[in-house]
């Protein structure tokens, strides 16, 4: 790691510009809300969108001088990996704000706190990926989580929402406790909190000590909570169902992506330990996670709950990619072509996260679009009957998202799954790939059910019908992107592979 003192403050700050812009922007939105009395509802969302665009620009211009730069004494790193995810999170936040403000237009109970909270949560996600020190990692995780707890409970007056927020808070506290315990043990074992120190210590060890095994295991549990891995998934259905639908979309894509990204960096850091000790456990958990998610999703009548279980299943697919990466650290044949397999696996996970964000956020966007207000969300699947005639664009978009989630070509969901399975087969884990394929087959049924309801059942009186144009416009663009990336995934997948390669090799 480079010497911090060697880099002057201005350089560091300019490298940190995206984070600074976002933090300052969040505070600004708060102050504007508090001071400007004659504020109209759209103003705050416009301001938030501007802030996010500013972050995107700052992040993008930062890429011009991109090189692995350790900043703030090794607390965070500015590398392509963090750059990649910053873009993803900003996009997710942009869409979330768009969806939410579309619903707020028709909603009497308008909460201005929503916007700064989304911005702070995004900041947490970005830092979570950029963190190269256990302290920053924890701080970022809490910044993200605390904001999201409040967002989940944001539907004031709804018992479900309050329950969801409370549940998520309690479960999140558990997760944090596990994570902290793991970090404490890791610190005790390696004598440092910075990734550089931990990495060096682990590299110098012949075999993992008991405490190190325990520490990594506990940290895995902490991440497991956040990405909804079985058996740490119990909160997911209730929270996803209770939270306002745009927040659910935000959580299912942004929070999950951030946790997986951080997990992947952590996996890179502690590869020998994870590969040696936790590989079989994670393998079982991945299999159980996707199977459980898909099986339970089959019988759901609420689309949010169905998407919650499908999100658990997708956590399983993502874990398959992580496993393929971990396989390279094991003392078997794959190790000879570790880089090839590892880059394929990591790239696949990154690509899948982007694809999953597009399709899942799009699906929640349509749910938001069809909701009358926050008290009457378009939640029951039966209400989607006849949507194809009433709202053809929304129905077609949702159909594209669901086909993509099911992994049917030519959508980004298919390509993403293909890359993951490809990496898994490359890593000599053929049975895992077969099981993944069987699972995606299972999932087809419940996704099809929604499509069938939209397209093949006649509309009823209480069927849902539309909302604001910007939501459906954004969702339509997302649907086009899902199809585009399904046909032309080359650039993105190359970027994802390079990004992972620069981070890990």
């Amino acid at each position: 790691m480079t010497n911090v003192a060697g880099m002057d403050l201005a350089t560091q700050l300019s490298a940190l510009l995206p984070y600074l812009v976002l933090a300052a922007g969040g505070l600004l939105v708060m102050l504007v809300d508090a001071f400007v009395k004659s504020l109209r509802k759209e103003h705050l969302s416009m301001l938030s969108l501007l802030v996010l665009l500013g972050v995107a620009v700052a992040n993008f211009t930062g890429s011009m001088s991109l090189s692995d730069r350790t900043l703030l004494g090794g607390m965070v790193v500015n590398d392509q990996y963090s750059w990649f995810f910053n873009m993803l999170f900003v996009a997710v936040a942009l869409l979330t704000v768009t969806f939410a403000s579309g619903l707020y237009d028709r909603d009497g109970h308008y909460r201005a706190e929503f916007y700064p909270l989304v911005l702070f949560a995004t900041l947490g996600m970005m830092l979570l990926v950029a963190a190269t020190d256990l302290m920053t990692l924890f701080l970022a995780l809490e910044t993200m989580s605390l904001s999201v707890y409040v967002l989940v409970a944001g539907n004031r007056g709804s018992l479900r929402s309050s329950e969801a927020g409370f549940k998520y808070l309690i479960m999140g506290a558990f997760a944090s406790a596990f994570l902290l315990m793991g970090m404490a043990l890791l610190y005790g074992e390696t004598g440092g909190t910075s990734y550089a120190m931990i990495g060096d210590t682990i590299a110098g060890m012949n075999s993992a000590s008991l405490l190190l095994k325990l520490a990594t295991g506990l940290i895995l549990i902490g991440f497991g909570f956040k990405i909804a891995m079985v058996p740490f998934h119990m909160w997911t259905p209730d929270v996803y169902e209770g939270a306002p639908c745009y927040v659910t979309g935000f959580m299912a894509t942004g929070v999950k992506a951030a946790a997986v990204a951080a997990l992947l960096r952590f996996a890179w850091l502690t590869l020998p330990v994870l590969a040696d000790v936790w590989f079989p456990v994670l393998m079982v958990l991945a299999v159980v996670t996707m199977t459980y998610g898909n099986l339970v999703a089959l019988s759901q009548n609420s689309i949010k709950r169905m998407l919650a279980y499908s999100s658990i299943a997708h956590a399983g697919y993502l874990l398959m990619g992580v496993l393929a990466y971990l396989q390279t650290g094991r003392d078997i044949g794959v190790a000879t072509r570790a880089e090839e397999v590892g880059v394929a696996a990591g790239g696949a996970v990154l690509f899948y996260l982007v694809g999953y964000a597009l399709m899942n956020l799009g699906a929640f966007g349509i749910v938001t679009y069809l909701s009358k207000d926050r008290k009457h969300e378009a939640d029951t699947i039966d209400g989607y009957a006849g949507l194809a005639q009433k709202r053809p664009v929304a129905a077609a978009s949702l159909a594209v998202f669901l086909f993509s989630l099911a992994g049917i070509p030519p959508t980004v969901g298919f390509v993403g799954k293909f890359y993951i399975f490809d990496a898994v087969v490359k890593a000599d884990l053929l049975p895992l790939a077969i099981w993944g394929v069987v699972n995606s087959l299972l999932s087809v049924y419940y996704y099809l059910r929604v499509i069938m309801t939209m397209y093949m059942k006649p509309a009823e009186d209480d069927s849902y019908s539309g909302g604001s144009w910007e939501t459906v416009f954004a969702a339509g663009v997302l649907a086009l992107m899902v199809l585009m990336l399904g046909v032309m995934p080359g650039t993105l997948s190359q970027l994802a592979r390079n990004t992972f390669k620069f981070m890990a090799y």
Partner: protein, 521 residues
């Protein structure tokens, strides 16, 4: 024009897709959607005729090849090619395309724009499946076919359409996902997704067995081979006429095409060992399909089961592993596409008038609709294999080729059993014809039914002409197919030669072969 002719396969494949998008986005009225769809299909037909004209008869390898690196640094490519087998199946698709659209003119009256779009989308996916020479590309087209068909059955189908559409979707996907795993497994070994690279792989007997099973399962479900056929009657009965025609005419051929294109040449060892099993399933399917067809009360269901029987012939022909048998199989695919397609169209004609397909509701229709009865008779004769019409040529070549097969144990017994299927086929078709068309006009509801109108003639006449052409002049088609089929069977002969070199027995039987390869390892 070189802009088009240089990339003719891309044009043939994607013109319908572009047409579908155009209709979804731009068509303002139902009528304009219909005319646009018809126009696009006709353009596609004309484009595909270019392929026939410029096809090099003597060349066995792919022609009009297009190859562009697509993904993963060229490991996955956009790769299209056309050989003698693909050629005629593509032509069959483009010929049936406009006819199917024409047949929906009055049959589909609600959500017309969507229907036309899906029909064209389906056509693009089917043509792509026949042309793809990259395994991932093939898989994408293969899966993409499901989506429009799912909607066609589910939106415009009969009473139990939703059940049938979901069953169709899930059933077909079950087979194909395992094929995906097999493709992935092979691509890791081959280092690319190109079919050509897959052909170069040297796989062990055990690997081949598993991979063959994964591929064959996908194709067997699509064919459908007994006992994987149960989705077919449901799908056919519930599908609208257009859906049935495409399903029977082209979609089922995907299965047999896949067997010939991929399963047999890629896994010669496994084909020798497991092929006979498939041949037996095919023969069981021939007889079972015929027997079940015989007792059907619904004309459409009868035709559906007759497909199971006819496709059994195709599979038998392919797994005779002789050139004659396999060429006969391909020929029978075309013949079946025409005759069964026409039969479904005819059933659609009468269903549109009477809204029933029960045999018991009819009788003596020939008095009321003489032209219709004549056409129906003609197509029936084509279907049951009357010499001089298309069905005969294919079936004859299949039986002839299988009879002389040295690689298929009990070939003669299989042929004898299959021949009973021919007889049974004649019985159930003619019996059905008799009950529907001959005798007195017993049901008053059938009185006053109008005979074929001009549009229906326009749909049926081209097919009838083709039925005759294929019956009397098979040479142009067979000549173009044979080199390609021989090339596809080539790995098999190489494998045989290798085995004989290892063990100079005079022509070992297949069962011995399996053991032989076992010992070898």
């Amino acid at each position: 024009m070189t802009f088009v002719t240089d990339h003719i396969l891309t044009w043939v494949t994607f013109v319908p897709l572009a047409g579908a998008l155009l209709i979804w986005l731009a068509a303002r009225s139902d009528a304009s959607a219909r005319f646009m769809a018809l126009g696009v299909a006709v353009v596609d037909l004309i484009l595909s005729l270019h392929l026939v004209r410029h096809f090099n008869v003597t060349q066995a390898t792919d022609q009009f090849v297009e190859h562009v690196a697509w993904l993963a640094g060229g490991r996955i490519s956009y790769s299209l090619g056309l050989d003698g087998v693909s050629l005629w199946l593509v032509i069959l698709t483009t010929v049936l395309g406009p006819l199917v659209i024409l047949s929906t003119w009055t049959a589909i009256t609600h959500r017309v724009r969507e229907a036309m779009g899906f029909l064209l989308f389906l056509q693009a996916a089917m043509i792509g499946t026949f042309l793809a020479r990259d395994m991932l590309l093939f898989y994408i087209f293969w899966e993409a076919m499901l989506i429009p068909m799912y909607f066609l059955i589910g939106i415009w189908g009969g009473k139990r359409r939703i059940y049938a559409s979901v069953k169709f979707f899930i059933y077909t996907m079950v087979g194909s996902v395992f094929m995906l795993v097999a493709i992935l497994y092979m691509s890791v070994q081959a280092g690319s997704m190109a079919l050509a690279d897959f052909m170069l792989l040297d796989l062990g007997a055990e690997q081949q067995t598993w991979l063959f099973i994964a591929f064959a399962l996908a194709f067997a479900i699509k064919v459908p081979l007994f006992p994987f056929h149960t989705w077919l009657p449901d799908a056919h009965v519930e599908a609208p006429t257009a859906g049935s025609v495409i399903l029977a005419g082209i979609l089922l051929k995907m299965g047999t095409y896949g067997l010939l294109r991929f399963a047999i040449p890629l896994f010669p060892t496994a084909t020798l060992a497991l092929g006979p099993w498939l041949a037996w399933l095919a023969v069981i399917g021939i007889i079972y399909g015929a027997l079940v067809a015989m007792v059907q009360k619904d004309v459409k269901k009868l035709v559906a089961y007759s497909s199971v029987s006819h496709l059994g012939f195709v599979v038998l022909g392919l797994f005779s592993l002789t050139t004659t048998g396999a060429v006969g199989g391909v020929y029978q695919m075309l013949a079946h596409g025409l005759t069964t397609g026409a039969l479904f169209l005819l059933v659609g004609v009468i269903y549109e008038r009477r809204h029933t397909r029960e045999i018991a509701d009819f009788g003596g229709l020939a008095h009321q609709m003489p032209a219709f009865a004549t056409v129906f008779m003609f197509v029936t004769l084509g279907s049951i294999g009357l010499p001089g019409l298309c069905g005969f040529t294919g079936e004859f070549m299949i039986l002839f080729g299988s009879f002389g097969s040295t690689l298929l144990p009990h070939a003669k017994l299989l042929v004898v059993l299959a021949s009973t299927g021919v007889v049974l086929g004649a019985i159930y078709m003619l019996w059905m014809y008799q009950r529907v068309f001959l005798g007195r006009l017993s049901n008053e509801a059938n009185r006053g039914l109008p005979d074929l109108n001009l549009r229906e003639w326009a749909v049926l006449l081209p097919i009838m002409i083709l039925i005759v052409v294929l019956g009397v002049k098979p040479a142009p088609l067979v000549d173009r197919m044979t080199p390609s089929v021989e090339r596809l069977l080539q790995p098999l002969h190489a494998e045989m030669a290798r085995l004989q070199a290892d063990d100079p027995q005079p022509m070992p039987l297949v069962t011995d072969l399996a053991r032989l390869t076992e010992e070898e390892r």
